[in-house]
């Protein structure tokens, strides 16, 4: 068995079973454990797996550190949420993406508000669910583990059947020339569909992400109606967006 072939097999096994033992691989492939160890070493350096004493684990194992994580820049996101809430009127149909900023928005919704909120983001849905007067529509499909949002053809098709009044987008990068960009293929698809189908698009982002670029393009600035950051709207960094005709808050 060729080295490359062997390593491909190991990666396959890790992805399949989420763990492999050096001893098991050694006898399966019939090479010495030293060789397996060297393979694991290399694959680990390439980021294909996580090497541990006795074998290796899939990457999905490492990132189990959930609920009590502090949200990055939470204070800024609270300010953004306060501003964003003002755009929501009684009875509106509101489509939202995922992300921690959107969660803050959900928490900032006045209890008396009655409106219909639509989302494929599970954390967002959980927040909406606890609100007494919201109608909640869940967009179903395969759940993406890292973004905690449903992605796929079903979700896309469902979004395209909607004509929401308002769309809140938590975004990861916006730039005067390159528009809104992101790094996750599936998420980009969804956000594009959301932007296209909504009457009004509101982008939420902390100022840190302003004037930054990610590899995948979502839409140009012309599609954005409102941009909300934690900065005052006369801040110099925001002027290019005002000039582009966006309402900046």
């Amino acid at each position: 068995m060729l080295k490359r072939e062997r390593q491909a097999y190991i990666v396959q096994q890790v992805n399949l079973h989420n763990k492999v033992l050096s001893t098991a691989l050694s006898s399966e492939i019939d090479v010495s454990e030293d060789t397996i160890r060297r393979d694991l070493q290399e694959l680990s350096e390439k980021g294909k797996l996580i090497k541990v004493h006795g074998g290796a684990l899939s990457h999905s194992f490492h990132d189990i550190t959930y609920p009590s994580k502090k949200v990055y820049a939470q204070d800024s996101k609270k300010i953004i949420a306060e501003k964003a809430v003002k755009f929501i009127k009684e009875g509106m149909f509101v489509l939202t993406s995922g992300g921690t900023t959107i969660i803050e928005l959900a928490r900032a919704l006045p209890v008396t508000l009655s409106a219909t909120f639509i989302s494929g983001s599970i954390p967002a849905v959980v927040e909406y669910m606890h609100h007494p007067n919201l109608e909640v529509i869940v967009i179903g499909d395969k759940l993406s583990k890292n973004s905690k949002i449903t992605v796929g053809a079903d979700a896309l098709a469902r979004i395209n059947t909607l004509k929401p009044d308002l769309c809140f987008l938590g975004i990861n990068a916006i730039h005067p020339q390159h528009g809104v960009t992101d790094s996750d293929w599936d998420v980009v698809q969804l956000k594009q569909a959301m932007v296209e189908t909504s009457q009004k698009v509101v982008c939420l982002t902390i100022s840190e992400k302003i004037n930054s670029i990610q590899p995948l393009h979502i839409c140009g600035l012309d599609k954005i109606d409102i941009l909300i950051t934690e900065l005052p709207n006369n801040h110099p960094a925001l002027q290019p967006y005002v000039a582009a005709g966006i309402t900046v808050m």
Copy 2:
């Protein structure tokens, strides 16, 4: 079981239940208590949990006031979950309803299990989402506030396109003559569809609900393959179901 794997499991358990006992972990994972103690020691140094006499506590336990949401008859439900888990095999497609018994099932899933779980229950989806190796499919539609499950024509249609290997139903009433019944119209629709489309139907319920009736009919006993309660399977109350050809656990 690898050390790292074991520690990941411990962290998961701590985050899930907010506390773990050294003794319990020792017998669950089948290593000596000394090893568990050393693990807790290390994890505590890494700040993943708080080590205390007898076990460990979640960090969030210390931060926030624990919203001691006690589930009714939780111990029984844990027993049920333990029994139910045994039916799930690697790679299966599993459809589940909602309800607290299903949540316990989700928490009892072994960390190494990789399978595809499908549900419209938001609390269930949240549990599945935290599991490192599950594929999760969310069934979308309007969210019913009191059952926290998506209901409607979309959800029904989606369920009917599936052919899952296994279906877990948390049920509210079962009776030798009247079969499985429930009280919520929308939920009944969903459960009917789930029963019809699944290869194998497993009903989970605490013994209290055995031999009781609710106003809406879901299905007859003939559609049920397996019934799981917290009672031993030779308990007299269960005999009518054994007689009906159901595998009782």
